[in-house]
Symmetry: C2
Subunit: 140 residues, 2 copies
């Protein structure tokens, strides 16, 4: 089976290193551009400004060997399995972001808010679907 | 850059082929087991029954060359770019599912609802975070 990803684009962000970028998407973040490579631009057809999207990114600086972490790097919080956290460090470091599409450009899209460093590879874009919690569900 | 995924587990489902499985997660679906491979089980530490989770799967039967599709296979709907749809056919066929964790097992988890065929590779598990739409957002 072929488990090889192809980047469809990359983030153009003012944040150049991990220490610059906030851990969570926050409203004060500037909109950022996702440059989509020419061969994938046709895949953007019929996206609309204002739409809410999932962006899947490849967290290329992650440590893929980690299976337990202190959430948010806080050592006073006991170790959690990485699948019980949103840590970038995990076997497949795929970042999942919910953004609003602010503008369609000839060579990509402008989205907000996206907490990702410059040149982060982008893997996929999907329309967001709101999930209404059922009665028996707990949030993390 | 290393763009190679590692499957962390696989779906054990009564649905054995694409034509068996519904296109959307639906409430009547039976709970299914995700078997997690032994070397990744530690990553489940502190997950809790009732939690809402994202499951990322690898849609191994997808056509990765498609960039436009008729949504839901309905030819009366005009072509859309794949990034404006939830079609499994896309350059990186990563499936995104929102499920409730029903039970923790020694070798995996039982979740509901998951629309995936038997032996679908699993890439990642993340806690779900509810996204409250802002005033200027449209849903797809």
């Amino acid at each position: 089976m072929d488990f090889k990803l192809v980047p469809i684009g990359e983030v153009c962000s003012p944040f150049k290193s991990c220490s610059d970028v906030p851990r969570q998407a926050e409203d004060w973040l500037p909109p950022v551009k996702i440059k989509i490579y020419e061969e994938y631009l046709r895949g953007l057809h019929r996206l609309k400004t204002g739409q809410v999207l999932y962006i899947l990114s490849w967290l290329h600086l992650a440590d893929r060997k980690m299976l337990e972490v202190h959430p948010r790097g806080d050592r006073s919080v006991p170790l959690h399995g990485v699948f019980a956290t949103r840590s970038p460090h995990r076997p497949n470091p795929i970042g999942l972001h919910v953004v609003t599409l602010k503008e369609l450009k000839e060579d990509g899209i402008i989205v907000h808010p996206l907490e990702a460093i410059d040149k982060t590879p982008i893997l996929d874009i999907k329309p967001y679907k709101l999930h209404w919690p059922r009665g028996d569900e707990k949030r993390a």
